[in-house]
């Protein structure tokens, strides 16, 4: 291999590997390796990696009934895995072709209701059996070996030499002495860091501008309308009933006005007799009608379950309970504040209207809510 290099760029000397080259190749000549059996080579390589094979339990005797059974089992698992894989393909491709249509209608009990379950069943069985076949093959047919590998902790030599290189470089750089460089680097680092996170400022929006948290579309004269947009007269509801109403503004019942939903409740005479509105809000109701925000003051879910026997409204998310005869104050659960009450009246045409927006912020509590 030692050829005299005369091409440009070469050193001109003999281009042979220096003594570090080679490693294990110096320990074993090709002839020695060629003379070794495969399993010997395997163990030799393992020993080189710090692994000793201490025990090998051979697989079943070739030709024994034990082996035949294991082979049958593995073969069966693999075959069935293939069968189910093809069945998956047949169901996937064939539905709507030579099999009935796969489009599922909720009322239908036929093939389309079986389509998804069959896909899952066939893919699950196919892949599962493939996995089981592999495990069976490993457990029943491969030799079981017990190997031991050495575990090395970090080497002192490596630490000392690597550390020396780092410290030496730092020392040579003179950064400890050349303060101007370190200080200007620190300054620059801070500046560049800040600069790079600045674009995130695009995410920041001032929540206190325009007071979006504290207001809803409700305002003086805005009609209370049902889900379908129809206005409500005082005679429309049975005593003891609850109806969810929305402001009669465009998209009043939509995600655009997520805090607008209001419950219009007609109290029964007994409830009306027991009604204790919050101070200052005694005239917010209209006759035997009261209107409260539907948005829970705890986590913002719509409070929905009205048990008129006990006058309680339950929030299904965290089970806060509010008493409509006590100004919708929380009587159980994690909510801390009463549901805000909407002041209502009746317009010239005899339909319910709001007399103003809610006088406090609707929905979950936050840090400066009381100030809005």
């Amino acid at each position: 291999m030692s050829v005299r290099e005369t091409r440009p760029g070469s050193t001109g000397g003999a281009d042979v590997p220096d003594p570090l080259y080679g490693g294990p190749d110096d320990d074993y000549t090709p002839e020695q390796l060629a003379a070794m059996r495969r399993d010997e080579l395997d163990r030799l390589g393992a020993r080189y990696d710090g692994v000793e094979i201490v025990h090998v339990e051979p697989g079943p005797e070739p030709g024994s009934s034990l082996e035949k059974r294991a082979v049958r089992q593995v073969g069966l698992a693999f075959t069935l895995a293939g069968v189910f894989a093809f069945l998956f393909v047949v169901v996937y491709v064939g539905s709507g072709w030579f099999l009935p249509d796969w489009h599922w209608l909720i009322t239908e009990k036929g093939w389309s209701a079986l389509f998804t379950p069959l896909l899952g069943l066939f893919m699950g069985l196919s892949l599962g059996l493939l996995g089981i076949g592999l495990v069976l093959f490993t457990k029943k047919l491969l030799p079981h070996e017990t190997a031991v590998q050495d575990k090395h902790d970090g080497s002192h030599f490596d630490r000392v030499t690597a550390g020396a290189q780092l410290v030496e470089t730092f020392h040579n750089s003179g950064l400890a002495r050349r303060k101007v460089i370190t200080r200007s680097l620190l300054f620059l680092g801070g500046g560049v860091g800040l600069m790079l996170i600045m674009p995130l400022g695009g995410l920041i929006k001032n929540p206190n501008k325009g007071n979006p948290l504290g207001t809803t579309p409700w305002a003086d004269g805005v009609r209370l309308v049902r889900n379908d947009g129809t206005p409500i007269r005082p005679g429309d509801q049975e005593p003891g009933s609850l109806e969810t109403v929305f402001p009669a503004v465009p998209a009043g019942n939509s995600v655009h006005h997520a805090d607008a939903a209001t419950m219009l409740i007609r109290l029964r005479p007994e409830q009306l007799a027991a009604d204790r509105p919050r101070t200052g809000q005694e005239d917010f109701g209209y006759g035997d009608y009261v209107a409260y925000s539907k948005i829970c003051t705890h986590a913002g879910c719509p409070v929905s379950l009205y048990e008129q026997e006990t006058s309680r409204i339950l929030c299904p998310c965290h089970q806060s309970q509010f008493d409509v005869t006590q100004g919708a104050k929380p009587v159980f659960g994690p909510a801390t504040r009463a549901l805000p009450q909407l002041p209502i009246g009746v317009d010239d045409e005899g339909f319910f209207v709001a007399r103003s927006d809610y006088i406090e912020a609707v929905g979950p509590t936050y840090w400066n809510r009381e100030r809005i």
Binding site: E31, L33, D49, G131, V148, Q319
Partner: protein, 554 residues
Amino acid sequence: MARTATAPGAPTTKLGKTAYELDDRLILSPWLRRTMNKVYPDHWSFLLGEIALYSFLILLLSGTYLTFFFDASMREVVYGGSYAPLRGVEMSAAYDSALTLSFDVRGGLFMRQLHHWAALLFVAAIVVHLLRIFFTGAFRRPRETNWIIGVVMMVLALLMGVTGYSLPDDLLSGTGLRIISAILLSVPVIGTWAHFAVFNGDYVGEQIIGRFYIAHVLLIPAILLALIGLHLLILVKQKHTQFPGAGRTEHNVVGTRLFPTFAAKATGLIFVVFGICALLGGLVQINPIWLWGPYNPAQVSAASQPDWYIGFLDGSTRLFPPWDINFPGDYTIPALFWPTVVVAGAMFTVLGLYPMIERKLTGDTAKHHLLQRPRDVPVRTALGAMGLTFYLMLMLSGGNDVIADKFDISLNAMTWVGRIGVIILPPIAYAVTYRICLGLQMHDREVLEHGIETGVIRRLPTGEFIEVHQPLGPVDAHGHGQLSYGGAPVPKRMNQVGGARRAIRGFFRPIEEPVDVELEQQRESRGVAAAESERELTPSGRPADGGRPQEPRH
């Protein structure tokens, strides 16, 4: 073989030559041999982390498929797909595309359900893997780093779940979003600012689905992938822990090499996990979004619950008392802040720092590669049981309305059960677990000292009845065993020490000769068969000792 003088053992087959050429260029063989020779200890509990890894793989594959059809937009559209009950209903493009995926994409519903099931399995596997690491002390030095990475990945997995199930924009996911919004608002001082930064304004706005989408499909998975890589790299570098046992020390790993045994089993496990997810995804309906309808902030369905892994936060939120903290100047820390941000933050912080806490408290700063049995570390095990009880109580309370409904119990009673339960049950769990650990420890020592109970009752000449015990090793003059406890399981039944022959294999008919099995067992150095081959038989063919347990042979 046509050997040449210069290259004996050079490859002669086509495949061999190709491999040789490849290695000549890429120098793969040293790395390949080292990898294939790496020894992995064999224990079922070491597969839990693998299950998490494989479910993540399924999530990546199925999730990528879903992105071909999903439109993460809150633009309003009118549904016109093949699901009749919702035709003509206004909804977001996100919900519309999720419905189209479920009803009008061939196999789309299967893929969506597969993805959801794999997600549940992913988090479950992470949690069980974490419990295994915790209770066996696998997090001790030098593995604290990997423990912290693991805890961070678990939190990311929860975030993956939350951002994922919020995407379809159906009534259930919208309710979840509303609560996320309230939790953000509840953070003191910066709550409203944080909310406006995330939602781009007041709830609900038009951005949040798109933002959650990019977090769900790019940001969090990318971080998770990087952390998984790091987790595995550190694991390979530090090598596996192992349970104590014969020949196992702090300085070795006993098991099987990667190739072929471990690789084959792991590949098998991948397909089994895949198969189970596929079975669930096809056969077991999950999150039928078409039944919930599009999101409307004025609507909610009863028993709106998050996926199981967020249940504990729902529970803590239900249980926490209505305690707003008011400051002068009309500032408030909402009650919602404590059971969500603080409880979750505290739980994950304590969990993440546990290795350091334990190191500090026990003063144990040594390196450990051998695992502990939970019974041998009663304080840690009891602490773990305490934490688990707390967690399970919260999770149970996350479904307390369903329990109240199904078992006809008062809802308010269930809330009080939870409130009292989270306080008094964890200490009880601690005490009980601690005692159980001590009891198990004592029983191990008792068996080592006195031997295994054989169930054979003997009457002594004095009339006293005694039970015959089988010692596990050499005994001293008083008949007490001299083996000391080594942190490995102690056999407790005669069958575990060869008190019975193994069954002859075969399902319909025996596939082994009984004589061969008998001979094979006699060759082993323990068990009845081995003992009998050395026994003297009486002329009538019965053993001279009457078949009673004997001193073990040393």
